[in-house]
Every structure is written in C-alpha cells, then in structure tokens.
C-alpha cells in the first residue's frame, strides 16, 4: 500500500494516460468495458427480439382483409395495403376519427389543467410563507402513497351524481386541481431558482400574483413542459378512466375505442385485426414523436425531481 502511493500512478506526458473522466475517449479501455463478440451477439439478439413486435404491428396493419380474416400473419410484411390507413376511418363502422379527436381533446385539456394548477400551487409552496405550510406539504407528499383504486369507486359515484358520466369532465376536471407529484416537481424547481428577481419585483410593487405571472411562470417553462408531456402521455394512453366513465361510441378516446373494436365482433366474425393494428400505430406514433422531441425536457424533470434514484 505504502509503495503504491510513492509511485506516481499517472506518468505525465505519456499518451493515453491523461486522467480522463470519460472512459470511452481514453485510449485504453479497461477490461470491464471491453466489448467482446458475445456482447454484440447478446445485444443484437435482444434488440431484434424487442423489435419484432413493432415489425409485426406494421406487417399486420398492412395486410389485406382476406389475410386478416384467416389470421395468418407473417412477421415480415409481405403485403402493403397502405389504404388500410384510410379504411380504418371508414370501414370499421365505428367513429374512429372521433376517437382520435376525443383523445386529443382529453389529453390536451388534461395537460393544460395540470400545468396551470401545479405551477400555481408549486409556486406557493416554494416562495410564500404562511403558518402551517410545512404541515400542508407533508400532506401533499403523503397523498402520493394512496393508490388510485381506493378513491376510484367513490369518485365514480360522485361524478355519476353530478351527471358527468359519458362526458369528458371526470377525465379532465380533476387535472385542474393539480396532483401531488407535479406540485412537488414545481416546488423543487422554483426553490432552486434564486429569489433576487422576485424580491426586486416585490420592492417595485408587484403583487404575489404579478410575481407568479410575470417572473416565475416564464422561468418555469422547462419543468412545465415536462409536466405537460407527462400528463399528455398518461391521458393519451389511459384506458381504465375512459372505460369507467365513457360507454357511448362517439365519446370514446382511441385507447378505449380500439379495445371496443376488438370486442364488438361476435364469435362468427373475427375483429378486423389489420385495422385494429393500424389504430394501434396511430395510438403509438404520437408517443414516439413526443419522446423524440421532448427527451431533454423529460431529463430535466428527472433532474428536478432531485432524487438520486431517477438521475
């Protein structure tokens, strides 16, 4: 041990031995990070297997009605019926166009609600002082541990009493009352922003709402974008909520409509699998786009969450 310390571990000037944090740019790769053919083999096999369902999705979506009726699909596409992408809106006997519009309406309004409400509440928890604030914040955190199933039935009875069944309201309105996770994210984000600016604004006579509106809100957009994406993604893919509250065809969002499409056909008649899978692609595509364009904001959200865990 003592000798090891006396010998300088890095001889200056030797190529490839400059201390580098990035293990991949240094000339010599440590044994632990050397990729063997087996590494490539394993990665190739796994990523191929993981990719097969996507190829199958496209293959079925492009297959003809005759192939669909016999249920004999190939993994690699052999038929290319691109017209299925228009038939899905006309040939199913269901208002699929409405499904898509309903999904967009529900997801967008949910995201708007979450962004507005959680930014306001999160700002208050980060900046304003009031007796009882810390106790309130503990309540906020505690509510994150209650599973949705506990409140599901009484909430349904409440919304039924209000006459909200078969409207979008039960899916959208709760989002305007913020949720604990988003409040937590905003609070963490705002706490980290220096408060000189809003103190200066206060001296200049701006009220609390003015500070929120003019100073804090413009600074919060990275975290609000993340919350928007998160809510949009959840509301877009949500199945259980619409299943509970919506049973009229023209009110269903796409996620529920697809399931409805597979369940309406009777035993004699198979569901139009090719069109169902076209629908699945329409359901999936926006999520891939949002991920592609929103990656950095989602990363922001993980960082702002401040947990060692998600970083």
């Amino acid at each position: 041990m003592a000798t090891a310390i006396q010998v300088p571990p890095v001889a200056p000037g030797l190529p490839g031995q400059t201390p580098s944090q990035d293990r991949f740019t240094s000339a010599r790769t440590l044994k632990a990070f050397r990729a063997s053919p087996a590494t490539y083999g394993a990665l190739l096999v796994v990523s191929t297997i993981f990719f097969v369902p996507f190829v199958l999705m496209v293959s079925i979506a492009l297959s003809s009605d005759a192939t669909s009726a016999t249920n004999m699909f190939t993994i690699i596409p052999t038929e290319f019926n691109w017209s299925n992408f228009t038939h899905v809106f006309t040939a199913t006997g269901l208002p699929v166009g409405r499904f898509v519009i309903n999904s967009i309406v529900i997801a967008t309004l949910s995201a708007v609600g979450q962004v507005l409400s959680s930014s306001l509440v999160g700002y208050a928890f980060a900046r304003l002082r009031a007796p009882g604030k810390n106790a309130m914040f503990i309540v906020v955190l505690a509510t994150m541990m209650i599973p949705a199933q506990i409140t599901m039935i009484p909430q349904f009875l409440l919304f039924k009493e209000l006459g909200w069944v078969n409207t979008f309201l039960p899916l959208i309105v709760p989002n305007f009352f913020s949720n604990a996770f988003n409040v937590f994210l905003v609070r963490q984000f705002v706490s980290r922003v220096a408060s000189e600016l809003d103190e200066a604004a206060q001296v200049d006579g701006l009220g609390y709402f003015g500070i929120y509106r003019r100073i804090i809100l413009p600074m919060m957009w990275p975290i609000l974008t993340a919350i928007g994406i998160f809510t949009l993604t959840f509301a877009w893919g949500d199945f259980m909520g619409p299943l509970i509250y919506l049973n009229q065809e023209d009110m269903m969002p796409l996620a529920l409509g697809l399931q409805y499409m597979t369940s309406t056909s009777n035993a004699m008649q198979l569901p139009p699998w090719n069109l169902v899978l076209v629908g699945s692609i329409i359901l999936t595509a926006p999520m891939l786009l949002i991920y592609y364009f929103g990656q950095k904001y989602l990363y922001e959200m993980n960082v702002s969450g401040g947990s060692a865990g998600v970083k």
């Binding site: 790769t29 440590l30 044994k31 632990a32 050397r34 990729a35 590494t39 490539y40 394993a42 990665l43 796994v46 990523s47 993981f50 097969v52 369902p53 004999m72 409400s117 509440v121 700002y123 304003l128 009031a130 604030k133 810390n134 955190l141 509510t143 994150m144 209650i146 599973p147 199933q149 506990i150 039935i153 909430q155 009875l157 409440l158 039924k160 709760p174 009352f177 949720n179 604990a180 996770f181 609390y208 929120y212 877009w236 199945f239 259980m240 299943l243 996620a255 697809l258 399931q259 899978l277 699945s280 359901l283 891939l288 969450g305 401040g306 947990s307 060692a308 865990g309 998600v310 970083k311």
Partner: protein
C-alpha cells in the same frame, strides 16, 4: 406519481427537524404583510386543497364507509360491519385466486424485469459501437401505450404467432399462451419483460456515474469482469435497483389493462388479478361495498410489500454516505 415514493420519504424526513425546532419557540404574531402573504398562500394552494378534500380525502372516507356496507347504488345501503372483509378472506375462492395470481405476477415479473434490465445495462455500459441505436431499440417498447401493446401481444402470443415460431425453431412446441390456465400468467410476464428497457436506461445512467478509478484499481488487483461486476457495479447501482423494485412492485400489484384486454381474467380465473376483480365487482356486478373492501385489502398488500422492501433494503442497498 410513480417516481416519487422514494423521494417522498426523504423529503418528509427533511421537513421534520425544522418543524420540531419551530415548536419550541413561541409563535410570533404575523405582521400585516405576513398576514397578506399567508392569505395569498392559501389562495394559491386552493386548487390543490379543494382537489384534496373533494377527490381524495372525501372519497377515502366514503370508501371506508362503503367497504362496511352492502350497496348496489339502486337500493339503500345496508351496514354490514366487517362482513365484506370476512367474505373476501374466508369465503370467496376467486379473491384468493386473484391474490395468489397477483403475487405470482408481481414476484416473478418484477425481479425478472430487473435482472434483464441490469444485464442489458451492463452490456450497454461497455464500449459498444452503435450504443445509442441499441439503447433506443431497447427503450422503444416502453413508449408504446398499454392498449397498443396488448393488441400486438394478442398476436405475438397467438398459438401460431411469432413467439411459438421462435420456440419452434428451438425445437419447443409452444403452448396456447392466453388460452391455457398454466401458461396465461407466464404470457403476461413475457409482455411485461418487453418493457424491461425502462429500468435499463435508469440503470445505465447510474453505471455511467461510477468513478472509473474503482475499475482501474480492481484491474490492477487482478479482478476479472465478473468479479468487478459483483464487487463494484452491482453495489453502486443498488439504490436504483431498489427504486425500480419498489415502483415495479406497486405497478405490478395494480396490473389491469393487459389482463382486461387480453384475457378478462380467464381462462378459469387463471389470470384474474386484484384490480380487474375489483373492477368487475364494482362496475359489472354493482357490488360497491365489496369492491371497496377489496380496494382496501389491496392497499394493505401494497403497503405491506413496500414496508418489507424498505426493511430488507438496509441489508443490501448501498448508500455512499454510510461509508464516510
């Protein structure tokens, strides 16, 4: 929602000393400005406060009461005490089947998904060409909405579907996954394994931040790659594994859409789990009281498992601060 449990506990702990310190000192009277600030605080948090009372606290209390009644929402509720709980635990064979199925699913799919996730992350942590592409391919499935996943897997798991084709190549005669009581749960686990990439991405970024010096030292000491994995990489990523374990368990106990779309709980209730059972009791049979009792039993199960995971975590989760 899901990401926070671990943080939430830490955050609560951080708040506690501040509050107890405040308790000893006499509360100062607020100035006029302070009163105005406090008023604005309550005004600004009112959306959350109203939502908390209206959509959470109120329904929770209602749920406790409902679970003690027999009620179909058409005739007046009848108070039955703990009968619903007793019925679920002692007389309802489907409840026990759903409970064991849920355990089976959660206790196999979550560790399996994590093992696959760690394995893939370790592969991607090497100096691999095309790393970004592999990472994207492995992560992509987690972006697919559950309903679309279920639709595709209905085809993947079909008796003559791609999975059985693959097994056929290996000389195995694949089962009728979704139609066979013994294979329907493994089928759901296969579906969940498709999403293992979510954990991989988190684990990979954790592996990236392990100091290179650890591996240099280990190499000088003559440790092989496997030894290095178990002595350096694994202990360093245990906090992330723990986080994923907790989140995975909570999610797995609440599995619903996949079951509902693929099997509706069948065949012969072999894939019936807690939430689909609760859903059926409430919204098909209008047993609102009994369904509420199931919800609370599910809550107890989830809380119990989370507590057990936290208990055991002291033995195997490595935190840097402990060493210092």
């Amino acid at each position: 929602m899901t990401q926070v449990l671990g943080e939430a506990v830490g955050a609560v702990r951080a708040e506690v000393p501040r509050r107890t310190r405040g308790r000893g000192t006499p509360r100062r009277k607020l100035t006029k400005r302070g009163r105005s600030e406090a008023r604005f605080f309550w005004l600004f948090i009112s959306p959350w406060l109203i939502g908390f009372v209206g959509f959470l606290l109120g329904p929770m209390i209602a749920s406790i009461y409902l679970s003690l009644t027999e009620w179909d929402s058409f005739t007046p509720a009848k108070f039955v005490g703990l009968d619903n709980y007793v019925h679920a635990l002692t007389q309802d064979p489907i409840f026990w089947k759903a409970l064991t199925n849920t355990f089976y699913y959660a206790l196999v799919s979550v560790p399996l998904g994590l093992a696959v996730g760690v394995w893939l992350a370790n592969l991607l942590n090497k100096k691999v060409r095309g790393r970004k592409l592999f990472r994207t391919m492995i992560y992509l499935p987690t972006l697919v909405p559950l309903v679309a996943t279920a639709m595709v897997f209905k085809m993947v798991l079909a008796p003559s579907g791609p999975l059985n084709d693959l097994l056929g190549v290996l000389g195995i005669n694949g089962p009728d996954w979704l139609l066979d009581p013994t294979w329907v749960k493994p089928a759901l686990i296969v579906l969940s394994a498709w999403g293992a990439g979510g954990a991989t991405v988190l684990l990979l970024s954790a592996m990236n931040s392990i100091p290179r010096e650890f591996y240099e030292a280990a190499e000088i000491d003559g440790a092989g790659p496997i030894r290095q994995f178990w002595s350096i990489t694994f202990p360093q990523i245990t906090p992330i594994i723990f986080f994923n374990l907790i989140m995975g368990l909570i999610g797995a106990f609440q599995i619903f859409s996949q079951v509902y779309i693929l099997t509706s709980g069948g065949p012969d209730n072999a894939s019936m789990t807690m939430v689909p059972l609760l859903f059926r009791e409430a919204f098909s049979f209008y047993h609102f009281g009994y369904a509420s009792a199931i919800a609370w039993l599910l809550f107890v199960v989830i809380t119990g498992f989370t507590a057990i995971a936290f208990r055991t975590s002291r033995k195997w989760v490595f935190y840097e601060t402990k060493v210092r």
